[in-house]
């Protein structure tokens, strides 16, 4: 059974179509990265899965439960880590966890809190109010709160957005541990590195639908080939290099001060000598498919 099944789901907000005929299936036990630029429909998809948004049409099933009719039962078996910190800041770390253990009807609240404190590595800070914690600690607590009932499925909505690199790495380790224990994870992100590092499969979302999906290496091979050549130089030189590559049917994208010729192994010797050739990346795929610059 798939943990998540969405069929032809549409969600509009007035004139805006946030989710546009979305088909998505997430098998149990994998980490699927939902990768897309801002406004792609990732957060709306997450809200549809928790029943906090109701689809205009389409079929949604989470852990075998039809949504929205059985959304509450489905939520009991999934954990959600939101994009925005919504911890109770005046309340202690352990009370934050205990409140959610009760909301999830955990039979042994005390044991669940102890386990979650270990996950968050906040045992020594358990009696501190949340507003005394650092940003990284708060984020770990937010993750542990979503796991306090040992869910079968966890939704991570941009789990590391706005965090500094060190805290991001810490969280990646925690999420990696979670993966290794077999929890199904749906993680929305617009960070390429995050998807590449954590996701077994990546679904690229753009304008409310999935436009490509596969393991990162498969997506790279399918859309970007083996190598990407980055050409640096003054604007007229970049324009010439772009024109030559496009004449050969190759994809070219801006890459900061350079242009990136994707699939440069197929250029038949036209790559300039001073170009920097590197392995093709998921970022190349992302930019080619969505037309948006990656973070």
């Amino acid at each position: 059974m798939a943990a998540i099944e969405l069929r032809d789901v549409v969600k509009t907000f007035g004139p805006i179509t946030a989710v546009d005929g979305l088909d998505l299936e997430v098998p149990e036990g994998i980490c699927l990265g939902l990768l897309g630029p801002n406004g792609a429909g990732k957060s709306t998809t997450m809200r549809l899965l928790t029943g906090q948004a109701i689809a205009d049409s389409g079929e949604l099933r989470v852990l075998g439960h039809e949504l929205p009719a059985e959304a509450k039962t489905a939520r009991g078996q999934m954990g959600v880590v939101p994009q925005l910190d919504n911890l109770d800041v005046d309340v202690t770390v352990e009370d934050n966890l205990a409140i959610f253990a009760r909301l999830y009807r955990v039979p042994d609240v005390g044991a669940a809190v102890e386990k979650a404190l270990d996950i968050a590595r906040l045992r020594e800070r358990r009696r501190d109010a949340v507003d005394e914690l650092s940003g990284g600690m708060r984020r770990r607590l937010l993750l542990a709160r979503g796991l306090v009932h040992e869910p079968r499925l966890i939704l991570l909505d941009e789990p590391t957005v706005g965090l500094d690199p060190q805290i991001r790495t810490e969280l990646w380790t925690l999420i990696g541990d979670l993966k290794s224990h077999g929890t199904t994870i749906l993680m929305s992100t617009h960070y390429i590195e995050e998807a590449e590092r954590l996701a077994d499969e990546v679904a690229v979302m753009h304008q409310g639908r999935i436009i490509s999906r596969g393991r990162p290496v498969e997506l790279i091979a399918e859309h970007a080939g083996r190598f990407t050549a980055e050409v640096y130089g003054p604007p007229h030189r970049l324009a010439e290099a772009r024109a030559e590559a496009e004449a050969q049917g190759l994809s070219v994208r801006p890459a900061g001060p350079a242009i990136a010729i994707v699939g440069s192994e197929r250029t038949d010797g036209l790559v300039p000598d001073d170009a920097v050739v590197r392995a093709a990346s998921l970022e190349d795929v992302f930019v080619l498919l969505t037309g948006e610059e990656a973070d």
Partner: protein, 268 residues
């Protein structure tokens, strides 16, 4: 990291208004209340004392000796219960709900758990009503300290306050779910809260008002609460059953309206 065992038994289908969900949401309120109860309690005790000193002792010493055979300080003191109830229910419900929804994203967190809007609103209203039902009794206790004779009927005051506060908390939650900006509470306060508070019969008997206003005052839940509290202190009448039924109806209506409005606000 500890292993996620996933050994939970097959989940039962969750029903409407599950007590566990309501208690869970209330436990969050209790945890937060523990961080600010001292300030709330201080102002709840001090305010009726100040009012009684200003209105009760001040006016009774100069202008009004008694109303309908009741010493003015006792008349005001029993009426102040209603004032305490509306200010400890409608206002926290309005501002608290708005802040939790718009600024703290608290409801997003709660609704991501197996809790629905009906349970969330019910829990919020229940908690405010319990708190307000308790704090609403303080003016009565203060008035006893000022000389009001205790009566058995006063034991029903927490119940009267609870039911009235339930209604006003529903009103506050519904308003919080309806306004677009926090500033718009000024309209709510000026158009509803202040008139209800002034035409409740707290400071003067409504019998002295024009007949039309007297009729309108009968639909003021605070007036019915004032009459019930005075009934508890000075003797009930059979109409008090109708007054209580009115308050129960008010609470039921605002409960359903609050759920409806919050559902519109919270579920896209």
């Amino acid at each position: 990291m500890e292993a996620a065992t996933h050994a939970a038994p097959a989940p039962r289908r969750l029903r409407r208004l599950e007590p566990a969900a309501v208690v869970g949401v209330m436990s969050r309120e209790v945890a937060n209340f523990r961080t600010y109860w001292k300030g709330t309690t201080f102002s709840s005790v001090l305010e009726p004392i100040v009012y009684l000193l200003a209105f009760g002792l001040g006016l009774s010493a100069t202008l009004v000796d008694e109303v309908n055979g009741v010493p003015y300080i006792e008349f005001v003191g029993t009426g102040m219960v209603a004032t305490a109830v509306i200010f400890s229910s409608a206002l926290p419900a309005m501002f608290g709900t708005f802040v939790k929804h718009r600024f703290q994203n608290t409801y997003d967190a709660i609704l991501a758990a197996p809790v629905d809007v009906e349970e969330l609103v019910s829990a919020e209203m229940l908690w405010i009503a319990i708190r307000s039902g308790t704090y609403g009794c303080i003016p009565l206790l203060v008035t006893i300290a000022f000389g009001l004779d205790p009566a058995w009927g006063m034991l029903l005051t927490p119940l009267f306050c609870f039911v009235t506060a339930l209604g006003f908390s529903g009103f506050g939650v519904a308003m919080a779910a309806t306004v677009a900006k926090i500033d718009q509470f000024n309209y709510v306060t000026a158009l509803f809260v202040t008139p209800l508070f002034l035409v409740a019969g707290t400071f003067f008997p409504i019998e002295g008002l024009p007949e039309g206003v007297q009729v309108v005052a009968q639909f003021n839940p605070l007036h019915q609460l004032v009459e019930l509290v005075r009934g508890g202190a000075f003797g009930f009448e059979w109409e008090d059953l109708l007054r209580f039924a009115f308050l129960a109806g008010f609470a039921t209506i605002t409960w359903r309206v609050a759920i409806h409005q919050m559902r519109k606000r919270l579920i896209d």
